[in-house]
Symmetry: D3
């Protein structure tokens, strides 16, 4: 099967990190086809960046209409329900996948994300996904997304310290890493903490394989039915749903 | 004060209906400046239409950066938090405004909206806005948004019938009309039902006036702070946040 | 229009503070008619004080049956639903108005109130109004209500310090002042904090204007219908509902 | 021990019914001292009636300051927290007691109450007491409270029919009778339904005995501490808390 | 009446402590018949210990089928719903009883329990019983259950210290002791704290007396109906439900 | 990898059905090792049956300590947290897996289960797993579990009819089959309904593969840490946790 892994920000080096994390866990028969969005923000750190990233996400789905499943590789899961409307293949967000995976291996988890403003967005997701009982706290390290790529930044150490605080203070049994750009830190942190540390990219890839293996497709009954055909104008004209 | 009233769909006749409803309630000193989105869907009836409407919404805000407040005149409140990031003026969604107004005049209300798929989206908003205790039921009449404009359609009668069912079955003391396109039906339905019937366009205009009168602006501390300046690529390049 | 602003405690100097705050934001065509309760407690700082204040509140409404709207100017919103039953004009509580206003300009807010015992009452209101997701914390400064009037007290400084703690610790984007007696501190604190600071008196006045402008009245279908006519005995005999 | 059982409405015949129900279950060593409120409404059927009943309730507590516990015998539990502030003896509401008892003998129950408007008030209590998961539905039979006393009314038959509907439709294992005036119907209905039927008066008396037996008193730390001493004016002057 | 008080762990000395606490509060006409489980763990400190204790619990109920009520004297309330299915007499768990009692005398309480892992289990119970609004925090002292029996341990002092922290930090008006083994500390702690301190064993005994006094039995309509008769195999063969 | 699939009831023919459903979706490299419990009920249809099935479940895990993951193939997920304590390999319940899978492909789903009493248990699981927002209704067909195996029963037709009712009445986009014994009906029903129909056995197998592929194990920090070593007595003596 082919899983289309979409980095909805436009930073190619981050796509490389994400794709590597995905390939590390993908089944031998799974092709990880990774895309960098051609439209949208260099990093996604707020509601506005998220909203502006959806067109690029849809473009990437349109460019590979035959994928067996799609993964949105940004922890805010931007455009998740729009993408589910747009295609009948399963679509997974990495925040969603990570939280669900965490709930399978611990009764409580903490999320460690990048910026304070992102923290609030993650809290909204916790509620949307019904994870209020499982997620004990969302923590932010105060590091912009793209600084995660800088080998000279202290990002890794600060993330680890925040994870240690989560264990000590939050009564949590697992950690969810709250940014696709943290994917390559998972093993390092897990080795240090000795509790499950979950990267959403890997989790989403495996759950996408699972859904495809189950023959499940996105429901086309109700709000996830294909968009109704209609005229779109202006900059979005090319994205009008067709019959 | 000037309230910028944005119809995030691209159907100008609906903007006229909305603007008329707004002007009916606006204070004498309030200018209602109404825009039709130049980008986006002819009607907004799903997650995908909503996501695709945000660029047009932001365009409309950018085109009038000095407005005292903005109203998003679509019952799904598309792009609400993105818009609040983008400007420091107050921004109100009509679903949000209608539900809050209803909670001030009744302990329980029902929402009557257009399509089944829209019904589920409205239920998500009910949860986001903390209205689970107040909103007793969301009902759909099975009428597409643009059919509301057709004088030959049975829309008005079906909406009235659904409102009557809401009173009889839901234990509700007020009705929220779940589409901007229903704005001109408010008085007709209220006359028939003899309970409060709330159109979100009117409610949002009055609450916008209230917030401006209070000197309140959108908080720039936390997730609604201005978008961080960064590079945007592709079709969204022109929407990159600047310092 | 005339808004009847009722201070349900019996301290006239506090009514003056409240009325001044109301007049500062009222529209030119709005008359702010302020009353001090003739019955009830000198300050309202608990469930008992609240319950005992309802008769005075109803007296004040009865004394001005033609007002276009009523505002209950005590942060516990005592007698709110009883008052809504008693009149068909809109009735707003200042806690209710402040929390709703805060939810329009920030995704999270903190309330800063007077005494510890009041804090718990405010937490009950947060739940009643569906604000659990928006209100991140209720804080108390440990100052009795009437001490707010004493120019020699350290009240202002302690409230400001608590607000600063709210920003630093609660992840909040706005502050709700949890006592009508704090109305005159709003601008001072907002100037210092540079985030929205919301006084419920002003918010309730503007929302009352909004509801009147919308032509909305309290629903008389359901639990807010006029009280059923019946005999009342003893001290309450004069308050019996009539047909 | 002496349990002061207060009928907060002013109808003495109802007090007799209530007292009889209480004495039927009270321990031999328990004295049931029943009072009819001297102030307030002949029947309590709304928020306004409830608010106006609190003074009479407090009068009745003041008149017997040495009781070991107090029961508020109206299903809306009017003035419950105010009464808990006012005395250090345990105070129980009959709605509260009935719901808690029901949750001990069934995983789900239905409430059958009098009027539609009362139904909504009962739903508020369900939420306040944390019974949302246990209470599957509140039902109203459309009978005014005082009609329960009329031997010629069809009240009993309609209540039974509603209880049967609750079993058939609500997936409930127990019935809570939602009015003190239904106390004498309990056994009759239970015999017919063969599931637990709970009258709050009896439940509150037994739980009051339990709390007294445990040596528990109302907490005086926090919002239930004695009212702060202060001046009360007007009609409430005599109710001012003293040191 | 006879209340069968079952210590579902197999430590007889703890049964003695529990029985003494029960007898201290039981009515003169109540026989406290205490059992130590013949099967199961020496102490119950986790999900596994709980699950393994249910057979012993059922054995104890089977051994005294004529008891008027049963109390499960372990704060995790293991096997509560299974026991309610198995018998028609009322069954109470001590965590359940303690939390309900606390909600009658305070608007907020804290639970102080033994081990960190038990803390999470207690949090689950808080949600199951609808006590999220009332229980402000569950605290653990880090002491294994059986250490409570050791006169040389510092258990008592550490529990008291944690209770004091609860009052200072949690805004709580009452304390629930989160282990049957703490039953003999109740009075000591209450004397020191001067707020209600609730031991679930005593609370469950008094509530059991109350339910028996009310003539209430466990509902046999729905999920608590007697287990359907069927074949059981292996180690559980003797526990098969019979007609 | 080897997934140990445990049917916690003692009916071998049902294990065969379950194992077949599992093998249909398992990856080529996954060994499905299926067990029938040697202890417990012939079918699990209540809290009591569930509690009595845990020993057999633990026996089955002990008998295959080296499995890479375990699946509990009964829709009540009996013993889930106890099993997670007992092993460090991932453990999945089929109700849990089915609900999570459904939430990935639809915004709302209905559960169709066997008996009314089971319906209530499923509703408890919905809450435990945070699925209140996603699960729109639990429905029961009134068929005992073992009747699902009878080719002459009308089970299949009644289940299909209930699923059709769910689509028509519940606003649901997917169906979760609420019994392991329905596993072989999945495709038949899905073909008829044309919406996703989810069997928990298949879902749990694929999610187990996913967790193993991610290298995730059950957290041993907190309440899922290995049971503390201690003495067990009586019938459970052989199940005492060891160091």
């Amino acid at each position: 099967m082919r899983i289309r892994l979409i980095n909805p920000n436009t930073t190619e080096s981050m796509t490389a990190t994400i794709a590597a994390a995905a390939r590390l866990v993908a089944a031998p028969t799974t092709e990880i086809a990774a895309s960098t969005s051609r439209s949208g923000a260099a990093s996604i750190e707020g509601h506005y960046d998220e909203a502006m990233s959806v067109i690029g996400l849809i473009e990437a789905i349109k460019a590979d209409p035959g994928a067996d499943a799609y993964v949105i590789a940004c922890f805010g899961d931007p455009g998740l329900l729009a993408a589910r409307e747009f295609t009948s293949a399963p679509v997974l967000g990495i925040a969603e996948a990570a939280m669900h995976a965490a709930s399978f291996v611990a009764t409580g988890f903490s999320i460690v994300t990048t910026l304070e403003r992102t923290r609030i967005i993650a809290e909204h997701l916790v509620r949307s996904y019904g994870m209020t009982q499982h997620c004990r706290r969302v923590r932010a390290v105060g590091i912009p997304v793209l600084d995660l790529e800088d080998p000279n930044s202290a990002a890794s150490a600060r993330i680890l310290a925040e994870c240690e605080a989560a264990i000590a203070e939050d009564n949590s049994g697992a950690i969810v890493l709250g940014c696709a750009g943290m994917a390559d830190l998972t093993k390092h942190i897990e080795d240090r903490l000795q509790i499950p540390v979950i990267d959403g990219v890997a989790a989403a890839v495996k759950f996408a394989e699972a859904l495809v293996g189950l023959g499940l497709k996105t429901s086309k009954h109700g709000d996830l039915a294909f968009p109704l055909p209609k005229i779109y104008r202006g900059i979005t004209a090319a994205y009008a749903p067709r019959q």
